[in-house]
């Protein structure tokens, strides 16, 4: 009887997967080297590396990562001072770029190359060679059928050859039997899948080496041009720095925000759209209209511009003691909560002189798009993100803003070291202004008028090459997988032999991987069709005894 292992090894030959080896063969360092390489490129090690890769990816999802949220990492470190240094050493805040994570996937890809490249050659060899000849004893194959016919054995073999060809098998006739094979797409798919993983990796690598990303906040009616000086922040890479920024720019014509006005999720956003006009290259005059929404970035000059955030910029005019306009325009305030309670500062750098001394003014406070009736219970918080009842709440400082020191300053923070807070009746001077209202500053500092507000939108300008390579890799991977998992590679043999009684014995047999249930049905179909040319003799003796007899002879 054919044993299970025999069948399995037979079936295994339908894959060019590497076979396992137990110990080093050969002598000395070279033998060991060869052995190590064989181990590394074996299925077992591939399995272990895959397992390790998934385990290694876990900590990064549970511990805050620098690459995603550096601020969260800082908070976490502050909360866990004991383990932080150890985590730091283990690169647990940068798992996906850590030495150990990289080691695993690099080993995996080396293993993959060592496995796939020889398999590709081997497979090319298979394609160039003829399908393997029929085994001597076809009854040993996992699926088998036989019958007797009056037709001549040569004619039957020829008919079988023609039929298998018609069914898309690669077939050849020799030694009185037809050998045929089909389903090479399985192997093609498998190789394509594994090779496309390299394309994915290449796309990833290129993206991380040649990408850059900048952030920019733009107030309505204002413009932006993609240069180093205009960006609020920038992260580059090896091959894409500030000097490589692509030339383009745009003007933010307007911003539309809509919110749910009722129901339990009242106030949550329903639509954000930034309406812009943009130009590319050196032709700054030719403007094209475009909209940017969440999920719908705009591609401009090889870059993608994403809408990231939005908020309000109160428009304020400040006049000094002499009545001269010293500050005028919108200033972006940053949202602090879902209802867009926003905080910000106004820095009046060019106030001029007061009492013969060079003076600057600073204000900080809140912009509330929908202010509550009174602040008593709530404090200065907005009730709704839309500007239904806007209010500007400010306190004032005078003195030296420190903007002339030449050191970079945060535009959203007031450095009060050299400032004194203005007071009124012994309390900090404070104003709550509705649009159009003016505030006469104490101590004769002049006036501040809240003219109204504009909206702003913040954008990410992203230059990321390699996306299309990764996408092609991904599509190839999926197609490859489909071929690899759904196509069955199988072999079919037909042998017609002249018997001593003058009749012809037709034997058909098939071999497929153990997962295939269809090989039996396919073989039955082939056999039934073949009976057109080789009709079974009616008083057919059962083929079962023949099979057993042959088996027991072994």
């Amino acid at each position: 009887m054919s044993t299970q292992t025999d069948l399995e090894t037979d079936a295994e030959r339908l894959s060019s997967a590497p076979t396992e080896q137990d110990g080093p063969s050969g002598i000395g360092a070279l033998g060991w080297l060869r052995w190590t390489w064989r181990q590394l490129t074996s299925m077992r090690v591939a399995l272990i590396l895959l397992f390790l890769l998934s385990l290694a990816a876990i900590p990064g999802s549970l511990i805050p990562q620098n690459s995603q949220n550096a601020f969260k990492v800082q908070t976490w470190k502050a909360a866990h001072p004991g383990v932080s240094p150890v985590y730091e050493k283990l690169q647990l805040f940068d798992v996906y770029s850590s030495a150990w994570f990289s080691a695993i996937y690099i080993l995996l890809f080396v293993s993959l190359a060592g496995c796939i490249i020889p398999r590709t050659w081997q497979f090319v060899g298979v394609l160039r060679a003829k399908p393997p000849a029929a085994p001597k004893n076809l009854t040993r194959m996992p699926v088998y059928a036989a019958w007797h016919t009056e037709a001549g054995h040569k004619a039957v073999n020829a008919a079988a050859y023609a039929q298998l060809k018609r069914r898309g098998f690669r077939a050849h006739l020799s030694g009185g039997a037809v050998a045929a094979e089909k389903g090479y797409l399985r192997e093609v798919g498998n190789l394509a899948f594994h090779l496309s993983l390299f394309a994915l990796l290449a796309g990833f690598a290129w993206a991380s080496l040649a990408s850059g990303e900048g952030g920019k906040l733009v107030i309505e009616k204002q413009g932006y041009s993609n240069t180093a000086t205009q960006l609020d922040d920038f992260t580059g890479s090896q091959f894409y720095g500030l000097e490589d920024l692509d030339p383009f720019g745009f003007k933010l014509d307007g911003f539309t925000a809509r919110y749910a006005t009722s129901g339990p999720q009242a106030g949550s956003a329903r639509q954000f759209t930034a309406h812009i006009r943009y130009w590319t290259g050196s032709d700054t005059g030719k403007l094209t209209k475009g909209d940017i929404e969440v999920n719908h970035p705009l591609e401009i000059g090889g870059n993608k511009v994403f809408l990231i955030g939005h908020g309000y910029a109160p428009v304020v005019t400040v006049k000094n003691a002499k009545g001269e306009k010293v500050y005028s325009g919108p200033t972006a305030f940053l949202p602090q909560d879902g209802n867009l309670t926003s905080t910000g500062v106004l820095k009046v750098n060019d106030y001029g002189e007061k009492d013969g001394k060079k003076t600057q003014l600073g204000f900080n406070g809140y912009f509330l798009p929908t202010a509550p009736e009174s602040f008593e219970k709530t404090g200065p918080v907005s009730l709704f993100p839309d500007a239904a009842d806007p209010m500007l709440v400010l306190t004032a400082y005078a003195g030296d803003l420190g903007t002339d020191s030449g050191l970079p300053q945060n535009v959203y923070q007031l450095d009060t070291k050299h400032l004194t807070q203005l007071t009124q009746d012994g309390n900090p001077a404070r104003a709550r202004l509705k649009p159009g209202q003016a505030w006469t500053l104490p101590d004769g500092y002049g006036t501040l008028t809240f003219e109204g507000y504009q909206q702003w939108a913040s954008f990410t300008v992203s230059h990321r090459p390699g996306n299309s390579i990764a996408l092609i890799g991904a599509v190839a991977a999926i197609l490859g997988l489909i071929g690899s998992l759904f196509v069955q590679r199988r072999r079919v043999w037909v042998r017609a032999t002249a018997g001593p009684d003058g009749r012809t014995l037709v034997e058909v047999a098939g071999l497929a991987r153990s997962e295939s249930a269809r090989i039996a049905e396919e073989l039955a179909e082939i056999a039934v069709d073949l009976q057109d040319d080789a009709p079974a003799v009616d008083d057919e003796p059962s083929d079962e005894p023949a099979r057993t007899a042959q088996d027991s002879k072994e």
Binding site: S2, S54, I58, G263, E515, E521, V528
Partner: protein, 378 residues
């Protein structure tokens, strides 16, 4: 700026009522299945099942008109040393008839089903299936009205996701039954899973019907999330098959070692009525193999969506990371199936691990880990 009309409260309310009705019907169906199992344990197990009786009739029918017809009998050697035969008969004017029959084969080792030979058990099982179908209709209505109440795809938060996912599971199960596959034994585990999922959905995960935040305004929502739901349902089914494979395999070993009960002291009669270990093993492999490319597609679609929404297609966000981990574990499982010495139980353990990752990705990451996928609404 009046958006109040964008949610239809009556439809939303109807959807909630339908979900509760569906759950009630599922619970009754579950009890019917429990009756089926209980009655079935009393009948003699060795009696042939209805399908097998039907098979015998078909064999006879196929052998009748054999004179003059083309007929081939293929002998199939199975991995465990048994053989099956498959007979194909083709008449000149009629289509082909295919009949499989076993002798000492895997097919024969497949048990008769939960009801055993008990007629009462069979009746209970039939009632259970009808109720499950009724529950599915109500359930589908709930998902549909939920979507209609906001005129969008009904999977914008975890509550909706869970309802759709549970529906996918029931429909897949009923679909297999409708395709005449002998899977009624799946009924009890599927219903338990569905009731648990819906129970969790209406208690912990419930969110009022609402429009979506702009980050979810994308046709990728329909593509990415619906394939994810389908994958989830199918992985779940494969998980059940894997657990049953391990159970049946353990039972077979215990019987071979001379014991009389199943694993964990379960009565032998349960295991006798279930299909063979090899059947479960094959089933779980087939489901996982079919779903794996789709899961790959789901991840790729998610990456494309992420690229459109956030500018980077892969940022190792916790959800992305766990999808990746799940994917690699399933790849591991498929590799194991192709590696000598790893087939069978070891591969099955990997499949369980992969499914555990899937579950964690779904419940764990949404609830306990904060990331950009904060649509959970909990």
């Amino acid at each position: 700026m009046n958006l109040a009309s964008s949610v239809d409260p009556q439809l939303a309310d109807l959807s909630n009522k339908l979900i509760y009705s569906a759950m009630a019907v599922y619970v009754i169906a579950m009890f019917a299945h429990i009756f089926e199992w209980t009655f079935g344990s009393k009948g003699a197990v060795a009696v042939r099942s209805v399908e097998q009786a039907g098979l015998a009739a078909a064999v006879a029918a196929a052998q009748g008109p054999a004179k003059g017809a083309k007929k081939v009998t293929v002998t199939v050697a199975s991995a465990d040393g048994g053989t099956t035969t498959l007979t194909r008969t083709a008449l000149a004017d009629a289509g082909a008839t295919v009949v499989t029959s076993g002798r000492d084969t895997v097919a024969d080792l497949d048990g008769p089903g939960a009801a055993g030979s008990s007629e009462k058990g069979d009746l209970a099982g039939r009632i259970a299936v009808s109720l499950a179908a009724l529950g599915a209709v109500l359930h589908a209505g709930a998902v549909l009205t939920r979507g209609l109440s906001v005129v969008r795809w009904p999977w914008g938060n975890m509550y909706e996701f869970s309802c759709a996912f549970a529906l996918a599971m029931v429909v897949a199960y009923l679909g297999l039954l409708a395709a005449k596959k002998p899977v009624r034994w799946l009924g009890l585990p599927v219903l338990v899973a569905v009731i648990l999922t819906l129970g969790l959905a209406v208690t912990v995960l419930y969110t009022e019907s609402e429009q979506l935040v702009p980050a979810l305004h994308s046709y990728w929502l329909a593509i990415h999330v619906s394939t994810a739901i389908f994958c989830g349902g199918a992985f779940y089914a494969a998980f059940i098959a894997t657990v049953l494979y391990l159970g049946k395999d353990t039972y077979d070993r215990r019987i071979a070692a001379g014991r009389t009960s199943g694993p964990l002291g379960t009565p032998a009669s349960i295991w006798q009525r279930l299909p063979a270990a090899a059947t479960f093993d094959k089933l779980s492999y087939r489901i996982n193999a079919i779903v794996f490319p789709l899961w790959t597609f789901t991840i790729v679609a998610g990456a494309i969506w992420a690229e459109a929404a956030w500018g980077k297609y892969w940022e190792w966000d916790p959800k992305e990371t766990w999808s990746f981990i799940t994917w690699v574990f399933y790849a591991c499982y498929l590799h194991a199936r192709a590696t000598a010495g790893w087939k069978g139980r070891k591969a099955a353990y990997l499949a369980l691990l992969a499914f555990a990752c899937w579950l964690f990705n779904y419940y764990g990451v949404n609830i306990f880990v904060t990331g950009k996928h904060s649509y959970a609404g909990v």
